[in-house]
Symmetry: C2
Subunit: 349 residues, 2 copies
């Protein structure tokens, strides 16, 4: 703004450009560019001279400009709600790490899970020409999926399968069934399920599998639902499940570990039941807290870094073959046996 002279060297507090490096090294601007492009044709001597000049000036290639021209930004968007909570915090950490390792640069959009908010997040990511969007929570509306496809932007959804996009998920229903079988094998007939009113597909599938399998074998399933699937929700669910002393479950499957912790604490404080003698508890996620002595929770393991690795792999595949049909990756979970649930004889190896 100040000076419009072409050669104004008004470079106080500004990023230096390739042109300045070129001048400093006495070469052309394109030579500088080539020096920073692996595999480009520059003589070793000239490259060294350029690198020296770049070092001296503190030059750093402008990825905005590079991305503009190359039509790829190396940016990858992560859309997530409450990234500080339980399993999700591990997923975010694993994904950012995996993406950086891959040479991508993660943008984290921390927002709500309403359609409006998701669409706003998508707009932001489109604006930066993000190479892909990974959705950790919330279900993208179909317009979202369409728009991503139209713009050629890979879209990966974690923990949802019904979206028409690539997704990586676990067998929630199967895990629910396994939880039921685990309790049944111990001879328990009066089961409980602790979930939340704000149900997501994930939690609904877990409940469905659990309930279905239980009822198939003639067991009953009492239900407690907290407001949300967190610690407080677990306490609320426990209150519902253990309010009537005559009609209490002998085992409870909790929709995730946080809920299990809330429920366990409630039971310890407000009932005389001891865990696991009178009551078996199984959680879900196997976050580090589950192995803490205070809880020692039997739970389904769902490894965040494995999931992140699969998400990134899916992304690679999608970039390689943009037109392949949506892939649905299904990861295994493993029941980690700890002290919060009695272990049926058949499970003791």
């Amino acid at each position: 703004m100040k000076s419009k002279n072409k050669h104004a060297s008004n470079d106080d507090k500004q990023y230096v450009s390739a042109l300045q490096v070129a001048k400093h090294a006495g070469v052309s601007r394109s030579a500088v560019s080539r020096a920073f492009t692996p595999g480009a044709s520059v003589s070793a001597k000239k490259r060294e001279k350029i690198m020296e000049a770049a070092e001296a000036l503190g030059y750093q290639v402008n990825d905005l400009a590079r991305g503009l021209l190359a039509r790829k930004s190396r940016l990858v968007g992560l859309v997530v709600t409450n990234p500080e909570l339980g399993y999700r915090s591990h997923l975010v950490a694993a994904l950012t790490k995996a993406l950086i390792h891959r040479g991508s640069v993660p943008i984290v959009i921390n927002t709500g899970r309403t359609e409006e908010e998701l669409v706003a997040a998508q707009k932001t990511l489109f604006g930066y020409r993000a190479e892909a969007t990974i959705i950790l929570s919330g279900s993208p509306p179909s317009s979202f999926v369409d728009l991503a496809r139209r713009n050629g932007q890979p879209l990966i959804v974690l923990g949802r399968s019904e979206t028409g996009a690539d997704d990586v998920n676990i067998d929630n229903e199967g895990a629910g069934r396994e939880a039921a079988r685990f309790f049944l094998a111990d001879g328990i007939k009066k089961l409980g399920f602790a979930g939340a009113l704000s149900g997501t597909p994930t939690t609904i599938e877990r409940e469905y599998g659990f309930r279905h399998e239980a009822e198939l074998h003639g067991a009953t399933v009492l239900t407690g639902n907290g407001q949300n699937s967190d610690y407080a929700g677990g306490q609320e669910a426990a209150q519902q499940l253990f309010a009537v002393e005559s009609d209490r479950p002998d085992a409870v499957f909790c929709v995730n570990d946080l809920v299990a912790f809330g429920l366990i604490d409630y039971v310890r404080k407000h009932t005389k039941l001891s865990i696991p003698e009178d009551l078996s508890i199984v959680g879900f996620d196997d976050i580090p807290e589950a192995s803490w002595d205070a809880y020692n929770l039997t739970t389904f393991q769902q490894d965040a870094s494995t999931m992140a690795a699969h998400a990134v792999a899916l992304l690679d595949r999608r970039q390689a073959e943009p037109d392949r049909p949506p892939a649905h990756e299904r990861l295994n979970t493993r029941l980690i046996l700890r002290g919060s649930a009695r272990i049926p004889g058949s499970y003791k190896s």
Copy 2:
């Protein structure tokens, strides 16, 4: 690559540009640009026509190009190690949310805290012309600070004060002293401190304040140090502190909540001491787990969203006045009284 014709409408799976919108709407390209710039001079009628065309084509302004031209990217970098751990996960969540609210777009660099890794992170962020860098863990070397200043990039450091950059921190030493006074007021003379070998300035300050104040009043301070300041580290520290039955502390100040949890669990499992009757525990951070019934931990509160708000405010100020001297923001902490420590009479309101 395929066709070099100027008017090749080979727009399959590509982002649409302003030029295409202009053609579609029958206006000039600059009109499109103006339509998307608030306060630019376009007639209402033309703007509407343009918006319609943009909608139809799914046009989205390219922020890469916009940032290139405007010399501001709206990108803000967060550099963090282990963003899934304890307090830090809340800080990351609060910062991403605050930044998005401000209209910025957070890039999260999840990396180690060695100098090399920090410098690599900085390079990445410079490459994207990030408007600012916020460092959540690790101490930036002075070259880092210099380079940021030279490039005119605001640098904000959280939880470190010795860096020459803007920082927001809490009074760790003061909190340490307060912890000591809290125990002393209860008549306790044999204190303990649970920390980690991988000490950071933060934890060192807490320890220093605690130890100093304690010894000033003639109390002794036993020390247990785990490998890291996490749950496992707390257990290790506890092992050291409670190994010799004859020489056990009557109160322990833990460097953070995770350490406190580890220590509490160890004590419950391996000793007959009951908390808080025989042993008072105070932690640091007040992460949600601290209020769980299993721990009910007395701890220093350090609100993540407050800290995030201050960081963003500092960023605003720095952008407004690039040349002001480094600001050192010091936030208050508050001791939250819960059940893990006996409450001295003088503390009961």
